[in-house]
Amino acid sequence: MAERTQNVRRDLPGARWRSSTVRLIAIYGVFFLAWSVVLVAALNWQTTQYLDGVVGEILEQRVHYLARVDRDNLPSMMAATNQLDLRGVMYFGLFDASGAYESGNIDRPPEGLAPDGQIRELPRGLQTTSGERNARALGVALRLKSGELLVLARYTSVADRIGAMTRSALIWALSLLLIPGLLGGFLLSRGPFQRVRNIETAIQPIMRGDLGARLPVSGRRDEVDMLAAIVNRMLDRIERLLGEVKGVSDNIAHDLRTPLTRLRAQLYRLQTESDPTDPRTAMLERCIVDTDGLLDRFRALLRISELEDLRRRAGFGEVDLSDTLRRVHELYTPLAEDKGVTFALTVAEALPLQADAHLLIEALSNLVANAIKFTPHGGTVELRASRTPNGARVDVLDNGPGIPPAERGAVLQRFHRSESGRETTGFGLGLSIVAAIIRLHDFRLEISDNTPRGARLTIYCWPHGASDPA
């Protein structure tokens, strides 16, 4: 169980990011971010448009004013207006018909600026006397009556600065709203996550077969509680149904005990009281043998249902696996020898583990009895215990027909009978008993191939968690 909890812990970082609260917060964050960008872009665009309009008007007014000014006064007027412009963002230029510089603070006419008195954007800026500046600017050119070209231009730096301000406002908004939001979301997600982990802890005993256990409900009546309540109602129903099924089979079993006892007793008395030379006596004897077979199977079925029902681990204690294997080996050696089967035992040092000693012997006896049963004369059955990093393991190897991969899951179920030659009676129930004992111990049973032929049944003797199929 400790190993399992560790697995969950290892999953934690990934699992936390998959939490629904975190996902919601992340989706919200993305939408918030996108909308903020759109909003700020629209604001920026509108502001720029407005400011460009204002700048354009100023330029238009001035160019028309200057166009009406007397030609001789024009340079001085231009200089004078320029002085009004405190920030030095307004530029003037007067060029002759060939485009040569006459006066003003623009060196040469901006490229692509038609002399039609319309406000145009100058994407490559201006070439001014104060040097090259490639900032965005608006300009207007007008051909004077003298044939000279008057150019007025103004940088749009104010509008651009406002754009920069709105952009920084966006970043602030993101850091002030989005980051605390995400952080809050992450913290919020921890609550439900912890509850899911509590549910996982609570579900462990249910998976081990304790159907009386229920998931914790906090009383907050939120989604997690709703889910837990639904699962609990389902568990109520399953528990009741299983109880009914078990009740029915227990009653059937109990009701069968008395008639079977009577049947066996009366047959036996008939046999003892009848004349041994009468051929009917032999028939009665066969009836008794059949009845005994019936009783054996009936007992085995009851045994499986007892084992499946067994929740107590009172019989559990420290068991030496190697010693258990030696006992099983001693018990079955004469049987193997009688059949001409070599029965090898490989155990090394003591292998202590927590188990019910009697049930462990029962499980191993069943496996060994099966192995001997299916191994032909001259074959070998091997019983082997070894230590692995996780715990002890037992291998029972035989030279029988083996178990086809497709049947490996089914042979552990009740009443299964293989179609590939394993036809000796009692096989299905024997392995079912083994499977029930393995489940009770939370060990794992694996069926594989022995080389060159036969089956290998392996018991991994450490807790595997109830979810693993035994």
Binding site: L263, R264, A265, Q266, D292, E306, L335, H358, E362
Partner: protein, 227 residues
Amino acid sequence: MARILTIEDDAITAREIVAELQASGNEVDTVGDGREGLARALTGGYDAITLDRMLPGLDGLAVVTELRRAGIDTPVLMISALSDVDARVRGLRAGGDDYLTKPFAPEEMAARIEVMLRHRRAQVPETALRVGDLQLDLIARTAQRNAATLELLPIEFRLLEYLMRNAGHTLTRTMIFESVWGYHFDPGTNVIDVHIGRLRRKVDAGNATPLIHTVRGCGYTIRVPHG
């Protein structure tokens, strides 16, 4: 001849138990109710009791508990429809001497009663056992037949000891497995048979008179052949 009390509420089962016990020469009284059964048992005078676990009036477990509290140590064979380990442990802890699960074979029940009766008669601890010319020294853990020492494995010695302690009585495979190995499950059809077979080859080797006998359809016994 022993006096046996059968406390069993199912009339047909009771009849068959009585028939089987009478067939081996016992005198049997039968009672179908727990309370009455306890009253009879408390009078003493019985050598063994078969007690059904579930009875009207008073539960079988309560009967044996009351009996032991009253200081009556008559051996009790509990017969129960409850077969799980817990039920067996509870039955034996309450004071039952042996535990048999329904459905059972009457000869198994009778064999267990016979062994219980024999144990009641022989209370003195033995240091050596003898059947005909076969001798078992329980201190030195050696076996001899006709002055020749038998080479027995430890498990064979325990098996022979169990047979010889109950010499003359039939022992079923289940009884042998439970007593010699101490386990309560079905070890498979002929596991006990092959163990007995091995022991028999050592004990009854050569021309010696066979001592270990198969009781057809039931089990084994060790005894000097009649006549």
